[in-house]
């Protein structure tokens, strides 16, 4: 059973690689500019905030919950960073402070889900509105600029001598750490166990509430980090930074093969899916499709990435049961 599942997952990731290849070919045919190193560098740096948010979200969905508040936490973090920067605080205090607020926001989500027993869907829908609202309370409609050069350079600069954007380095380190923890350690096995069967996990001694709360804290912290990177990349702190990101982040996670009902998924799949969405959006942008209209395609991709595997499973099981009936009647 487990070998079968591994083979299926392997196949899912193969599918993603094929999809990525297809979009690359499509992009190349759309614009000669598409297949250039600088375009790839730009595309990657545009993606990294969403990619960083998708990593903890993958763990949360594998554990059977969801976090819709990530984009608002990024906005709140950006607004708060701008606010304390205006107060004249140095960034080496401001950034850890913002990350701590992100952790607190995640803790709030986590406690409402695990201690109060509320569904994460409703809790994070509430904090999606709450954190975005607080962001506009903190900063209002203004945008804060005048950031130090090292900070903005971290946002849209490249590692010296290469075309690798700095945020990609952050993402690569995080992705490697997530991959190791989820697939090679007991923590990862606990997360899978919680998502497969919460009760069984609890009876086998896993502290379900604690693990889930920590995952929400992680999600809040990394969403705040994404907000910091967004601020650096745009050289501007705004309350509406990151608005609408939730679609791409959830799509990347589910397209990456994470089961929406929990218990299944790989970081490699999520990383691949992030780039599938990035290449798709980049290609559409080069084809002069506005970002709002691109959402039609990404929204459809989200639905298909959940409906597709379900349909395949149903067809396969219907087919095998028919074969079973036929072989039984032949006998």
């Amino acid at each position: 059973m487990s070998a079968l599942r591994d083979r299926l997952l392997a196949r899912w990731e193969t599918l993603l690689v094929l999809l990525l290849g297809a979009f690359l070919v499509l992009g190349t045919s759309l614009s000669p500019y598409f297949l250039s190193a600088s375009n790839f560098s730009d595309m990657t740096s545009n993606l990294m905030e969403k990619a960083i948010m998708a990593l903890p979200l993958a763990l949360i969905i594998i554990a059977g919950e969801i976090d819709l508040s990530v984009e608002s936490m990024a906005g709140l973090s950006s607004a708060l960073l701008g606010f304390v920067f205006l107060l004249g605080w140095p960034l080496w205090i401001a950034i850890p402070l913002v990350l701590a607020v992100g952790a607190l926001g995640g803790l709030f989500n986590g406690l409402l889900v695990t201690r109060a027993g509320l569904p994460s869907l409703v809790v994070t829908l509430g904090t999606l509105a709450l954190y975005r609202g607080l962001a506009s309370v903190v900063l209002g409609p203004q945008s804060v600029s005048g950031w130090p050069a090292w900070f903005t350079n971290f946002g849209f600069g490249d590692v010296p001598g290469t075309l690798i954007p700095w945020p990609f380095v952050v993402f690569a380190v995080l992705a490697a750490a997530f991959m190791f923890v989820l697939h090679r350690t007991w923590i990862g096995r606990q997360i899978f166990a919680i998502g497969k069967n919460k009760e069984a996990a609890r009876y086998s001694g896993i502290q379900v509430a604690k693990v889930k709360t920590l995952l929400f804290v992680l999600s809040g912290t990394l969403s705040a980090l994404a907000g910091v990177i967004l601020t650096a990349r745009f050289s501007s702190a705004r309350a509406d930074n990151g608005q609408g990101f939730v679609l791409d982040v959830v799509t990347a996670t589910l397209l990456g093969g994470v089961n929406i009902f929990g218990g299944e998924g790989t970081i490699a799949g999520v990383v691949l899916a992030v780039f599938v969405i990035g290449v798709l959006r980049n290609g559409l942008t080069l084809a002069d499709v506005s970002p709002d209209t691109q959402s039609v395609v990404v929204g459809a991709l989200l639905i298909v990435s959940v409906a597709g595997p379900t349909a395949v499973r149903r067809i396969r099981s219907a087919w095998s049961s028919r074969r079973f009936v036929q072989s039984a009647s032949n006998r």
Binding site: L134, V137, T293, V296, G299, A300, V306, R314
Partner: protein, 345 residues
């Protein structure tokens, strides 16, 4: 089959029925609670700002609540079945724009445009329903997808244009500004829709079946309730009512662009959960949801009257969602604990 029925009927039947009765009573008290909260807010704000306590201001509040209330009625039927529709804001926006655009370009007359808007809403709701029931996609994923698809379509159709009040025929704009026996038509529409839905959910067989699906899906299957068809129906109804709200939106505001009514879904969901509709499905009333919408609208209006920053609006939407579901969970847990304790004795 037999084992499934046994599983559906709890061993401590008397205790269970007692619990259900108490929870029903709590739900009724809960509507009273919203009314009391409303009265309290009105009194406090009226003392601070006499301008608040005028007939014209209350009319203003109800006018802004009417559209949200209509959508909240549809959302209630969906939430009762243990689902959620995040796409309602986009449906309202898309329908408002398409209806306005049809009238602006003089493609059709006012009655046909209104009908087209309603049918479009119904179709968008049906697509949601199909993805969820036939495609077996969880409602949250399906409607997060269509939230963006429908909004994207609005941008695609609009292409940067917008519809202004001068482009629209007077007979269309008059729908929102006219009144029936002194009561604004918008409010009449909302009340009639809510009354019909409340009656059907309370007394019709289909209405009761919707509650059954939400409170125990497995038992609903066992007794032969066509769950999938009813969930599909709930989404169709939700889409239709969002379509009606979209048509009225265009009439009320006159100016419609592709981002009209974006974020409305959060206000609608806030209204529904404040109104005591259980987010786990199976309990709650349309009257509660409408009262929830009125409470939310009153708070928003009070902020304006008291000259508090408009930036608080969204934060308040979020806070009341959390407060409402948190309070409900606390009350439910409290009674469950008390009743299971007496049941054991």
């Amino acid at each position: 089959m037999v084992r499934a029925v046994e599983a559906a009927v709890p061993s401590n039947l008397a205790g269970r029925i007692g619990l259900e009765r108490t929870l029903a009573l709590v739900a009724r008290l809960r509507e009273l609670g919203i009314v009391l909260a409303l009265v309290a807010i009105v009194l406090v704000v009226a003392i601070q700002a006499p301008l608040f306590f005028t007939v014209s201001n209350f009319e203003q509040i109800l006018l802004s609540v009417a559209l949200i209330a209509i959508v909240a009625v549809g959302q209630t039927t969906v939430v009762l079945t243990r689902n959620v529709d995040l796409s309602v804001g986009s449906v309202v926006g898309l329908v408002a724009f398409v209806t306005g655009d049809l009238l602006k370009e003089h493609v059709v007359g006012v009655p046909v445009a209104i009908l087209a808007g309603c049918v479009l809403g119904l179709g968008l709701g049906a697509l949601n329903g199909l993805i969820i029931t036939v495609g077996r996609v969880p409602a949250i994923v399906a409607t997060l997808g269509t939230l963006n698809i429908y909004r994207g379509l609005a941008f695609l159709i609009a292409g940067g244009k917008q519809v202004s009040a001068i482009d629209l025929p007077n007979s269309y704009l008059r729908i929102a500004s006219s009144s029936v026996l002194g009561v604004p038509t918008l409010i009449v529409c909302a009340v009639v829709i809510a009354a019909i839905a409340a009656y059907l959910l309370r007394y019709s067989g289909t209405g009761r079946q919707l509650y059954a699906i939400g409170s125990n899906p497995a038992a609903a299957d066992v007794v032969g309730i066509p769950s999938q068809r009813l969930v599909f129906g709930a989404f169709v109804l939700c889409g239709l009512l969002a379509g009606v709200a979209g048509v009225l939106w265009g009439s009320r505001f006159g100016t419609v662009n592709a981002s009209a009514a974006s974020g409305l879904e959060l206000q609608v969901i806030a209204a529904v959960v404040i109104g005591g509709v259980n987010i786990f499905g199976g309990s709650g009333t349309v009257v509660g949801a409408v009262l929830g919408a009125v409470l939310l609208g009153t708070i928003q209006n009070a902020l304006t009257v008291l000259h508090l920053s408009q930036f608080w609006l969204q934060a308040i939407d979020g806070a009341v969602i959390l407060l409402a579901v948190g309070t409900d969970a606390a009350i439910r847990n409290y009674f469950q604990r008390i009743l299971t304790r007496t049941g054991r004795r």
